[in-house]
Symmetry: C2
Subunit: 377 residues, 2 copies
């Protein structure tokens, strides 16, 4: 078997196999494209599903397909290529979902970003019917990830996907769109400018050969690639029955972290995300730094928890806090009145006021004590 | 020891002990109020902390205090009373937090709601600086809980607390405010109408005796009571350094469920809640039903997960879905064109179109096939 023979065989099989088809993809992964191609042509009495493919195999001109792709600037990446993203091989061991699964036979790719550079990439996906809020957060996460050198992978759909790609572009980092149709197709049509740009500076990828249209089950197969290519999936907005949840499910099957961005509980596009977090199927994240922390190797990108300001009073013993609480802000009060308010003995309070004065927290005046500037916050 | 003696002793100790004080409350819980009262008066060489209380004990007229309270419609509930909420005894075994802890010496109560009816109650707490969104959700949760018969306990503070009380009142259920000051005090002043109403139809409760002002550490002690009285705590909005997180911490120490309502990640008042959920210290909830499910006994209040509509096509085998995806919506197409689009053999597609027609999903026309009404959603 030559490398060319394998590529031609896989290109032909790619033309005749539905993305993520469970009868073909595992066999091609196990035996290779050339072997499967030969067996389909030579063997008799094949099961019906293979007979149907075998019958159409002679009519496929794989060399012509690869040639046409090359003229359009599209390459066909297969597992024997250096560019093959080896994390996709995890799909061989993952349980199918909605009758789709397996390692793709090959990937049709347009654009300068190499697929073998996506090991540390992050999927940012979500609802087509996104809100302004969701778009903004997806864009922010895309920008922070890309800015930190993590490529952003998404599906080029309206809403969250496009916002994530745009954020990554704004963050100056690579971004890759995985499509359910052929990479020569523009879908959705209104994403033409974005897809053209991605093909120039990022990459547009599909398991489906040229010319294929984006059918619903191809989206399901496509979602598994988004999850498998990346080392973590963030769902920004997803209603209860959203395709983004299918991607989350795939990420979970592949043991990649699933993250969800919450939103108002009154917002339907956040409903599916809340459900994931609630069930423990996704970790709540609120920004790109937290995403990087989740997917980064231990210690890398570690985020400090946001904290309130530490106030000087917080370090005091409880009794002194109690006294401090009883000291007036403006009009000075005598120690016995402070003791009464604090519910403590006057003798104790006297010495504590002295210590608090030393710490710069209270001021001594003619007629008693009041808080110093430092203790007023 | 008579019941009166115990009540008088505890009333006196309540006057001289800071709420949640760690030196006194455990001893009073262990030995009882009358015994501790006697020991403080009789024993010599007491540790300084007790000596200070002992020195002031003779000046307290507990009978007069109880009498004054009674005239104001305020009762002093102690552990030997039938009304004592026994769930508070869990505080004896809970680790202290910020130097506060222990079972309270007694509770000063104003209002018709009995404390022994709070076993199934729910705490709804949160930020003073609440948003319109937070207020609305807290009110909704309060109303759903109260409507289902679960009393709502909160702290009467501005924002979330007051919204929760108001929601519970609107839901027609009992609601109880636990204060950091004496129950005869109105704090915050602007809550006068609400607190007066709660004292008439619900209950206003405090560990601090009459006249006490609401110092900061009394809020910390108060928060433990809100967590301990209820069988679950919901945080609606809480910034990163909010007192509501202290209540959540107490609920966790007491093995009561902690629940958090998410909000926009751009909203600071949701920051502390998101942090809790993210760390796994709170379960995300989006409405009152989910709260009831969390705190209810197994099987009670069980919530159906929200689901998208199930569509007729979802039950089809994958290949038939594939064919269906290839059938045009309006202009009929011949079977061979559908087969080409679907990437399937024409023979297969023909029989599948027949089955889909039988299922009412496609229509046969003169020049081919198109989707039936049923399959267009």
């Amino acid at each position: 078997m030559t490398d060319d023979e394998e590529r031609l065989a896989r290109a032909a099989l790619s033309r005749l196999t539905e993305p993520g088809d469970l009868s073909m993809t595992p066999l091609v992964h196990e035996f290779g494209g050339a072997v499967m191609h030969r067996r389909l042509l030579e063997e008799r009495g094949l099961p019906r599903i293979f007979a149907s493919i075998a019958a159409r195999l002679p009519s496929v001109d794989a060399a012509k397909e690869l040639d046409r792709a090359a003229r359009l600037g599209i390459r066909f990446v297969i597992p024997t290529d250096v560019e093959w993203p080896s994390q996709l091989d995890d799909l061989a061991g993952a349980e199918p979902l909605q009758n789709r699964g397996g390692v793709p036979i090959g990937l049709w790719v347009k654009g300068p970003v190499r697929l073998d550079g996506l090991a540390g990439s992050i999927a940012v996906v979500g609802s087509r019917a996104a809100t302004t809020y969701g778009d903004r957060i997806a864009g922010d996460i895309g920008a922070v990830a890309a800015g930190a050198g993590a490529p952003v992978v998404s599906g080029a759909a309206f809403g969250i996907d496009q916002a994530a790609h745009r954020g990554a572009l704004a963050g100056g980092g690579p971004t890759v769109a995985v499509l359910a149709c052929g990479v020569d197709r523009i879908y959705p049509k209104a994403a033409e400018v974005l897809l053209t740009h991605l093909a120039e500076v990022g990459a547009v990828v599909s398991e489906a050969p040229l010319g294929c249209s984006p059918h619903r089950i191809r989206f399901l197969a496509r979602n598994r690639l988004i999850a498998a290519l990346t080392c973590g999936t963030v769902i920004v907005e997803a209603a209860v029955r959203s395709g983004a949840l299918n991607t989350a499910n795939w990420a979970d099957r592949l043991n990649r972290p699933v993250m969800g961005v919450p939103g108002p509980v009154t917002s339907a596009p956040s409903g599916g995300v809340h459900q994931l977090i609630r069930k423990g199927a996704a970790t709540l994240v609120t920004n790109g730094q937290e995403v990087l922390e989740m997917v980064g190797s231990a210690g890398e990108h570690l985020v400090d928890d946001p904290r309130g300001p530490v106030r000087s009073r917080d370090h005091l013993p409880v009794k002194e806090q109690q006294v401090l609480d009883a000291v007036p802000v403006s009009t000075p009060a005598p120690a016995d009145s402070i003791a009464r308010v604090a519910g403590l003995a006057i003798a104790e309070v006297g010495s504590m006021l002295g210590r608090l004065e030393g710490a710069g927290l209270v001021e001594r005046h003619d007629h008693g004590w009041r808080l110093a500037e430092l203790a007023r916050t």
